[in-house]
């Protein structure tokens, strides 16, 4: 079924968008001009936290509401830009007092509480590197990331520390300090009470010289073959956060912006922290997880104007019967965006009908650091398309050949989505893994690993992943990480893990397991394996389904053919089997 384009009538928009004409905006764009809108440090240099909070705190927006925090229990905490500057300054002083140096890694493993935001900004003020982890990770993914990222400090809570970190301490000799955001007293010399340290810290802090190319953020993302890789981002990323906040999110000074993503994922950092703060708007943060009623209430009561959410949540909202606008006054809302996985056209159209606004899908990745291809407030939407490249971003479709890559210029032909390197928030490395980084660039293009096509009018359409990485609820899960955890179970001989398409969460993690002789394939063992994986990996990564099989399809060199597992699961043609080993 094809969907009619959604036409935009500029006159009907309540706020005239920053980007009115896509082609013109692209032609007029320069990164130098974007840089000129930021302040820079007094002594030169560029610091992301200075631009995000200190710049506003020392100016006319000092008292403007920066962060409105909605607690699970109904508590509301309001923090102005001056408050954000003070909180982050105190955190920076805490780090300095603990001897945390420039470039050293400060991790966070916690829910969405104000301290997380102080920690993120304060870490950057100290020119240390902030690395947020999703709090639903189990101990194994937490260990992998802390270890590979050389964590020196971890900010977390008492419960998460006890549950997921305490038992890992011996395996993390470089981790010197644990700062507990909710502990009144220190546990010992290394496990400290953050509130105590914050209370004792000074309110003044001079940001040390910061080069735009200094490392600022570390975001782990999943790989197909190995363990997760840490994508390195630098302070210069501020330019992309700022520019996309303007071109795509269309932030204006009086906006109330709500990004529903958790900072444990890159969207929750680039757009849940930096883009709104760089624009000096009010950033809404809800501590609770998805709840349809609560979300509609928040949109209504907080008068959210610009909302950035995810397909999984939108599809959940679509399950709620009735007309949302009959029960909730959503009249403040003027713009809705979505990211995480392709938004199905039905959902785009549902937004138009049920919320009175179409939903604008966009595309980017952990590696790109910010939105690269998008639908814009002023541009017609083709439901199901991710839109067109941002001003300052060149995107093409390529195919890999014997001599590197070749651009596909014909419309509607599938290939790999590639970007011209050089945008400010491009990842600068995979930490400690130069070879893997180098492999992402061919003939002067960054290869995204996503398959897509471009139509004759320049709209891009997502097709799928070029590799075996699983996208579940908008998060990337590496099959290897899951297979490795399952293989630790005494009954498991082998495991192959795929993403099984799911109407709600895109794909769900499904494992095919070969048992060692003497183990019976029954429901009891299935539950035991699920529990075993959940304990190690946490609910965000562990398989939701397990199937027992006699053998796994493999190549002659012994690699599991996950593609074939997936085709068989879907009942699709099995494709090229020339490398399949006969079983």
């Amino acid at each position: 079924m094809s969907f009619d384009p959604i036409r935009k009538d500029l006159q009907a928009l309540r706020v005239t968008p920053h980007l009115v004409d896509h082609e013109q905006a692209r032609a007029a764009h320069s990164w130098e001009a974007v840089r000129a809108e930021l302040q820079g440090l007094p002594g030169g240099g560029l610091n992301l936290a200075h631009e995000a909070v200190d710049r506003h705190a020392s100016g006319a927006r000092a008292d403007h509401l920066a962060l409105r925090w909605l607690g699970k229990d109904g508590t509301v905490r309001d923090l102005s830009y001056a408050d954000m500057a003070q909180g982050s300054t105190r955190f920076a002083n805490v780090l300095r007092a603990l001897g945390v140096a420039k470039g050293e890694r400060v991790f966070a493993l916690m829910g969405r509480v104000p301290e997380l935001y102080f920690a993120a900004l304060g870490t950057l003020k100290n020119v240390s590197v902030f690395c947020p982890l999703f709090s639903q990770f189990g101990p194994e993914p937490v260990w992998q990331r802390l270890n590979r990222g050389d964590a020196k400090v971890l900010v977390t809570t008492q419960v998460l520390y006890e549950k997921k970190v305490a038992a890992l301490r011996e395996r993390l000799p470089a981790l010197q300090f644990i700062l507990l955001a909710d502990a009144e007293d220190d546990l010992d010399a290394t496990v400290r009470s953050l509130p105590r340290l914050m209370a004792a810290a000074s309110d003044t802090f001079t940001i040390p010289p910061t080069s735009p190319e200094d490392m600022a953020l570390l975001h782990f993302t999943s790989g197909t073959t190995g363990m997760p890789k840490g994508a390195v981002h630098v302070h210069q990323a501020a330019l992309t956060h700022f520019a996309t906040g303007r071109y795509v999110l269309d932030l204006h000074p009086e906006d109330v912006f709500w990004c529903t993503a958790d900072p444990g994922w890159v969207t929750g950092t680039s757009y849940g922290i930096f883009a709104p703060f760089l624009h000096g708007v009010t950033n809404l943060v809800d501590e609770a997880d998805f709840d349809a009623e609560r979300w509609y209430r928040i949109l209504e009561q907080q008068k959210v104007t610009v909302w950035y959410t995810a397909p999984t949540a939108i599809r959940r909202l679509m399950r709620v019967p009735g007309e949302p606008r009959a029960q909730h006054d959503l009249s403040a809302l003027r713009l809705i965006h979505s990211v995480g996985e392709p938004l199905n056209p039905e959902a785009v159209v549902w937004g138009q009908r049920a919320l009175g606004l179409p939903i604008h899908d966009n595309w980017w990745q952990t590696e790109t650091g910010g939105i690269m291809i998008a639908n814009y407030a002023a541009m017609d939407i083709r439901p199901g398309s991710m839109g067109k490249p941002l001003p300052g971003i060149d995107a093409v479709i390529v195919k890999r050949g014997e001599h590197g890559i070749e651009e596909i210029t014909q419309p509607d032909v599938e290939g790999e989505l590639a970007l011209k390197p050089g945008w400010p928030s491009m990842f600068r490395a995979y930490l400690h893994d130069e070879a893997r980084y180098a492999k992402c660039f061919v003939n002067g293009w960054y290869l995204s690993g996503d398959l897509a096509k471009r139509d004759a009018d320049g709209y891009f359409w997502f097709v799928g992943r070029a590799d075996d990485i699983i996208k579940t609820s908008g998060h990337m899960v590496g099959p290897f990480e899951v297979e490795s955890a399952l293989m630790e179970h005494p009954a498991v001989a082998e495991a192959g893990v795929i993403g099984k398409p799911d109407p709600l969460i895109g794909e769900l993690v499904k494992a095919f397991v070969v048992l060692k002789p003497g183990n019976a394939a029954n429901d009891e063992l299935r539950l035991d394996l699920i529990g075993f994986a959940r304990k190690r990996l946490g609910p965000a990564v562990a398989p939701k389904e397990i199937a027992f099989v006699e053998s796994l399809p493999k190549t002659r060199s012994g690699k599991i053919m996950r593609r074939l597992l997936k085709s068989r699961e879907l009942g699709l043609p099995e494709g090229d089997l020339s490398t399949l080993e006969n079983d």
Binding site: F290, P539, A540
Partner: protein, 80 residues
């Protein structure tokens, strides 16, 4: 259905989602998802399975009212 029977059904359902946990240690007023590490999708699967087992409609809009065992017993009790 008695409250004890209903509670057994609830705990069995939770055990299928989070087999590594012992739901019998769950206090009536504790947040189920947080205590047992159940994500949004798992909780949805749990509620759909409950619907199939009990034949009770549980609309998505009511999910927020079902965060603890006590709340679930209160909500489902009169319907089964």
């Amino acid at each position: 259905m008695s409250e004890a029977e209903l509670k057994t059904i609830l705990l069995d359902g939770l055990r299928k989602i989070a087999p590594e946990a012992d739901p019998t240690t769950l206090r009536g007023d504790q947040n189920i998802r947080e205590t047992l590490d159940i994500d949004s999708f798992d909780f949805l699967s749990f509620l759909i399975a409950l619907h199939d087992k009990l034949g009770v409609e549980i609309p998505e809009a009511d999910y927020g009212k079902l965060s603890t065992l006590d709340a679930m017993l209160r909500y489902l009790g009169p319907k089964v």
